[in-house]
Point group: C2
Chain length 164, copies 2
């Protein structure tokens, strides 16, 4: 099912000037976790062809930063996705993922990967709902497969994959 | 001039298992600055076709992490380069850059960008020596154009560009 966005929300490709706006909302949207390091500006410079922001007039409502893997010609990678806490549960995240999947299909890529932190239960549920499977890791946290020291030391991640 | 590597050094494309090895040397190679956040593992998963490591037998001697910009079809971006302190000044960095330039040329990309911190004087000199120009920024530090809050808040960067 392809969720349409509510009429008052507009989606467009991201651009470099979105970077400070996204950085500014991270802590509020992630329950005070500081994830600034996840999003150096280069992601807003070099991956805008596969990244999106959703706005309500001038307010940032959601974003998805993803790219088609240069080294893995069959894969797309979703790096970072956020939805304004007041706008969750109405299909915006799913719309963003489907938009990214569409680009992957157009570019003959049928494996999409993403990852999240094991503490982020709602993200894990969201990915499972969309149809992602949890990849085998090298450890387990609360019954969920995780890869320890994934992006950096002491940074366990739940890895997801889906074939589209 | 295309510096050849000394015979006992070997260059190859990077691979994901290089990630912890690179992370482990960062502090030593950068005078105790902690730049771990610059290199989430995804760079070692998705950009290996344009990234390299140099080894002497099993020891890591240098690396270059770069990619062909998906959103900017004429550009290549060099994200992160390091050379073991004992092996500086013998052309290894230049060899790595030239290797990356070669891939860019093969892919019809003639603008290469890179950036460094204004405190890293040797990096600034290195880029100028190779032929990079310093891009106009939005401020100046010790007479050098910088872009304030580039990758993240309070993170001024000297931006470089070269046409090849």
């Amino acid at each position: 099912m392809y969720h349409e966005l509510p009429n008052d929300l507009k989606i467009r490709n991201s651009k470099p000037s979105d970077h400070p706006r996204i950085i500014n909302v991270l802590k509020d949207w992630w329950g005070r976790r500081d994830l600034t390091w996840m999003l150096p500006k280069l992601f807003l410079i070099h991956f805008n062809n596969t990244s999106f922001v959703v706005e309500k007039r001038d307010e940032l409502i959601a974003f998805l930063i993803g790219f088609l893997s240069p080294a893995k010609p069959k894969e797309g990678y979703i790096h970072f996705v956020g939805v304004h806490p007041d706008y969750r549960g109405i299909g915006i995240g799913e719309h963003l993922y489907n938009r990214f999947f569409k680009i992957c299909i157009e570019n003959s890529r049928d494996i999409i990967r993403a990852c999240t932190s094991p503490v982020n239960k709602s993200s894990i549920e969201f990915h499972k709902k969309i149809g992602f499977e949890i990849s085998k890791g090298n450890s387990e946290i609360q019954g969920i497969q995780v890869t320890l020291e994934y992006n950096k030391p002491n940074d366990p991640k739940v890895l997801f994959e889906i074939r589209i």
